[in-house]
Symmetry: C2
Subunit: 424 residues, 2 copies
């Protein structure tokens, strides 16, 4: 195959006619396929459904002398803290175990900064004229929306293969209005990048002008390898502590992609001083999170080793899906020189950069053919990709056959959009 950019106009016109015919054929099948979000598929849900039956008799519900069915323990069951500390490599007393959503814990931490101020805040952030926030991009749309919902000014920081551009970060944090930064340090969403040791070291050693800077460390994919052995990862809490930044970091994780996406448990890990400050504020909002579900998870997942064994079974389900997408891209798109993409070994996404100016058009064509993808631009602050290039592919939800159809449609649409852009 010839690269599109090297084709003559006549060659492109002929190619367009051929690809358009494939597209019309695909479209006529009336597909309804979803690759928009990092949702586990049915097979993964069934894999862990045994969990539902681990607590049945009244005596099953007691843990460390606490009846998980009753009110109390706003920061979670001790056993759930131990489980997350084991997985994250931090200390149980640094863990606040919440409900079914780490996003909720992130939002609430920022919300408390906004309405009440944090431990080292001069005043609640809602009393400030401007709050700025660093957003490595491409990144996770829901992170950006949290910041945006509080009226913050989002500042894009480019991602490199080693993580966010640290020269840029170190320059930006000199501004005291810069109050925080989003990070998905392992298998970043969507690029699948693992922050390098050097990047992590520089982040932990930062000296932001804002005394209440929040290093948001969303370790969503901490044990989520699907095509590689488990990769150990440094404990960011310890690193920050060693750099005199104990209260700067807020780490998050959940079992959303370990057990049930909609019914897992989540953790916020941060310094004991931060927890001592935040616990009474969170206690105004809720008496306690669902400790029965916490205990169900503790009994089912047991510890890090046992959880890693479960993750290897998830990997067996996910690996063929990611490979199917990469195989299709390698065969159909790579030779045409119209897109570049990452080859992640963990996480939930494949990040693809289409020819600049074609991402929106590609996804528009996909939608017309019944294939839903994450909206173009979603991976950038304010939903605007200045290059109109980045596309996030989420292969986890569709069953294998549907996935093959969906990715075939996607490749066709990428080609059409590129040809339109180059001129036909």
């Amino acid at each position: 195959m010839k690269r599109y950019a090297e084709m003559t106009l006549a060659e492109r016109t002929a190619e367009y006619a051929a690809v358009k015919a494939s597209y019309e054929a695909q479209k006529s099948r009336g597909l309804q396929l979803d690759m928009s979000r990092g949702k586990p598929g049915r097979e993964q849900l069934d894999l862990v459904t045994d969990m539902a039956g681990v607590l049945l008799r009244p005596e099953d519900f007691i843990s460390d002398g606490i009846d998980s069915r009753n009110y109390g323990n706003v920061d979670g069951l001790p056993a759930a803290k131990r489980l997350f500390a084991d997985i994250l490599g931090c200390r149980p007393e640094e863990c606040f175990v919440g409900g079914n959503a780490s996003l909720q814990l992130m939002y609430d931490a920022v919300a408390k900064a906004y309405t009440n101020g944090l431990l080292h805040s001069e005043k609640p952030w809602c009393k400030l004229d401007t709050v700025k926030w660093l957003c490595p991009a491409p990144g996770y749309d829901r992170h950006f929306k949290v910041s945006q919902s509080f009226g913050m000014e989002l500042i894009t920081v480019p991602m490199t293969p080693r993580g966010p551009d640290m020269d840029k970060v170190e320059e930006l944090i000199r501004d005291p209005a810069v109050k925080g930064m989003w990070n998905v340090p392992k298998y970043s969403n969507p690029d699948g990048i693992v922050y390098s040791d050097e990047t992590i070291r520089r982040l932990a050693a930062m000296k932001p002008a804002a005394p209440d800077f929040m290093l948001m460390w969303d370790n969503a994919y901490c044990i989520h390898e699907f095509d590689a052995p488990f990769r150990p990862f440094p404990d960011i809490l310890r690193l920050c502590r060693e750099n005199g930044n104990s209260d700067m970091v807020f780490e998050f994780a959940s079992t959303s992609k370990i057990t049930f996406p909609g019914a897992g448990i989540a953790v916020m890990a941060t310094s004991e001083a931060n927890l001592a400050y935040l616990k009474p504020l969170i206690n105004v909002q809720i008496i306690s999170y669902d400790k029965v579900n916490q205990l169900r998870h503790v009994r089912y997942l047991k510890d890090k080793e046992h959880t890693l064994a479960l993750m290897r079974r998830h990997a067996e389900i996910l690996r063929p899906k990611f490979r199917a997408v990469l195989d299709a891209l390698d065969a159909t798109v790579a030779p045409l020189g119209i897109a570049e993409y990452h080859r992640p070994v963990g996480g939930y996404f494949i990040s693809l950069n289409a020819m600049p100016g074609t991402a929106k058009r590609t996804l528009e064509l996909c939608k017309e053919a019944g294939v839903t993808m994450t909206g173009a631009g979603a991976t950038f602050p304010y939903g605007v990709d200045p290059q109109d290039s980045n596309i996030r592919i989420a292969p986890s939800l569709p069953p294998a056959e549907e996935l093959r159809q969906a990715i075939a449609v996607f490749c066709t649409c990428l080609r059409l959009a590129a040809l339109e852009k180059l001129g036909i």
Copy 2:
């Protein structure tokens, strides 16, 4: 027995010595008894533990075509909305079903007003100089703390046997800085008062100066009779709608005292317009609440009739506890003229007004003897009871024998505090 106020000094001195001797005997037992919060007891938890086993096989988790295990449906499962609509008498499309805590839904509704503004707000409340809030008192300490945590000015409204003093309310809402009001309309916390039809009618017809006034309707005890048949209650959403106040009311309920206190499900019911406005704001915070637990409740509770049958079984456990407290008070305290108290037939509390100036001292004495009660003043805004008189008794948690011991200690302490106050 002679009323303490009618005793001579010598009689009081003798009485004090006798009561003090009982107190020392009680104290020497080294009790550790808790009547501080409205926590259901172990027997009530065991009663509903069957619920844990209703969802086991993968196919059990599907409801209306939705897989409850996966992400999605931020406003809850349709089946859970139908269940709460049945119980509250409102419409399913007015229901937003959340996580395990109605307090969290209340807090979040107020928080959104504060950080983003409500449907009819001119601007977010954090941009206003003053926000005032009406607090019928005695009332629920956690309500007051939510308002307080946002820096609002809490205004006490006296409770009458028919609900809050409506003349006072109607006067106060003329101030546009008054943005909302707490209510526990059925078996109010702590008085156990049921708002009269007239009170409810006047509340639904209010015309507050603030266009974004929040009538907070915490229907926590909507089906929680323990010593009377179920008492039907008007649908506040319909009443507000009929009065042109559709968007003024936010109703809340939960299964915390129907199934598991720490692991139930909660609802916010409000106008469809309010939900359309709030849903995207809440979706920034969370992708979806625990729908597996929602479905578990739907399958277990089935509908209002079936849930009322369960509540009658809870009543059988609670009734003897409330009666034991009332019997002890009737026998030991009432004849002395040192306290007045309500005789609720639903809810979770008995509200007692001790001789003014003796509530704190009574609870201090209780604590010394190993009996924990809700702190004096907790039932008033800012935790300050101007009369130092109101005490909230929560008889639900202790087993029968412990409860008898605890209430005996409490009666002794009431007597000591009254005698000290009158002079010995």
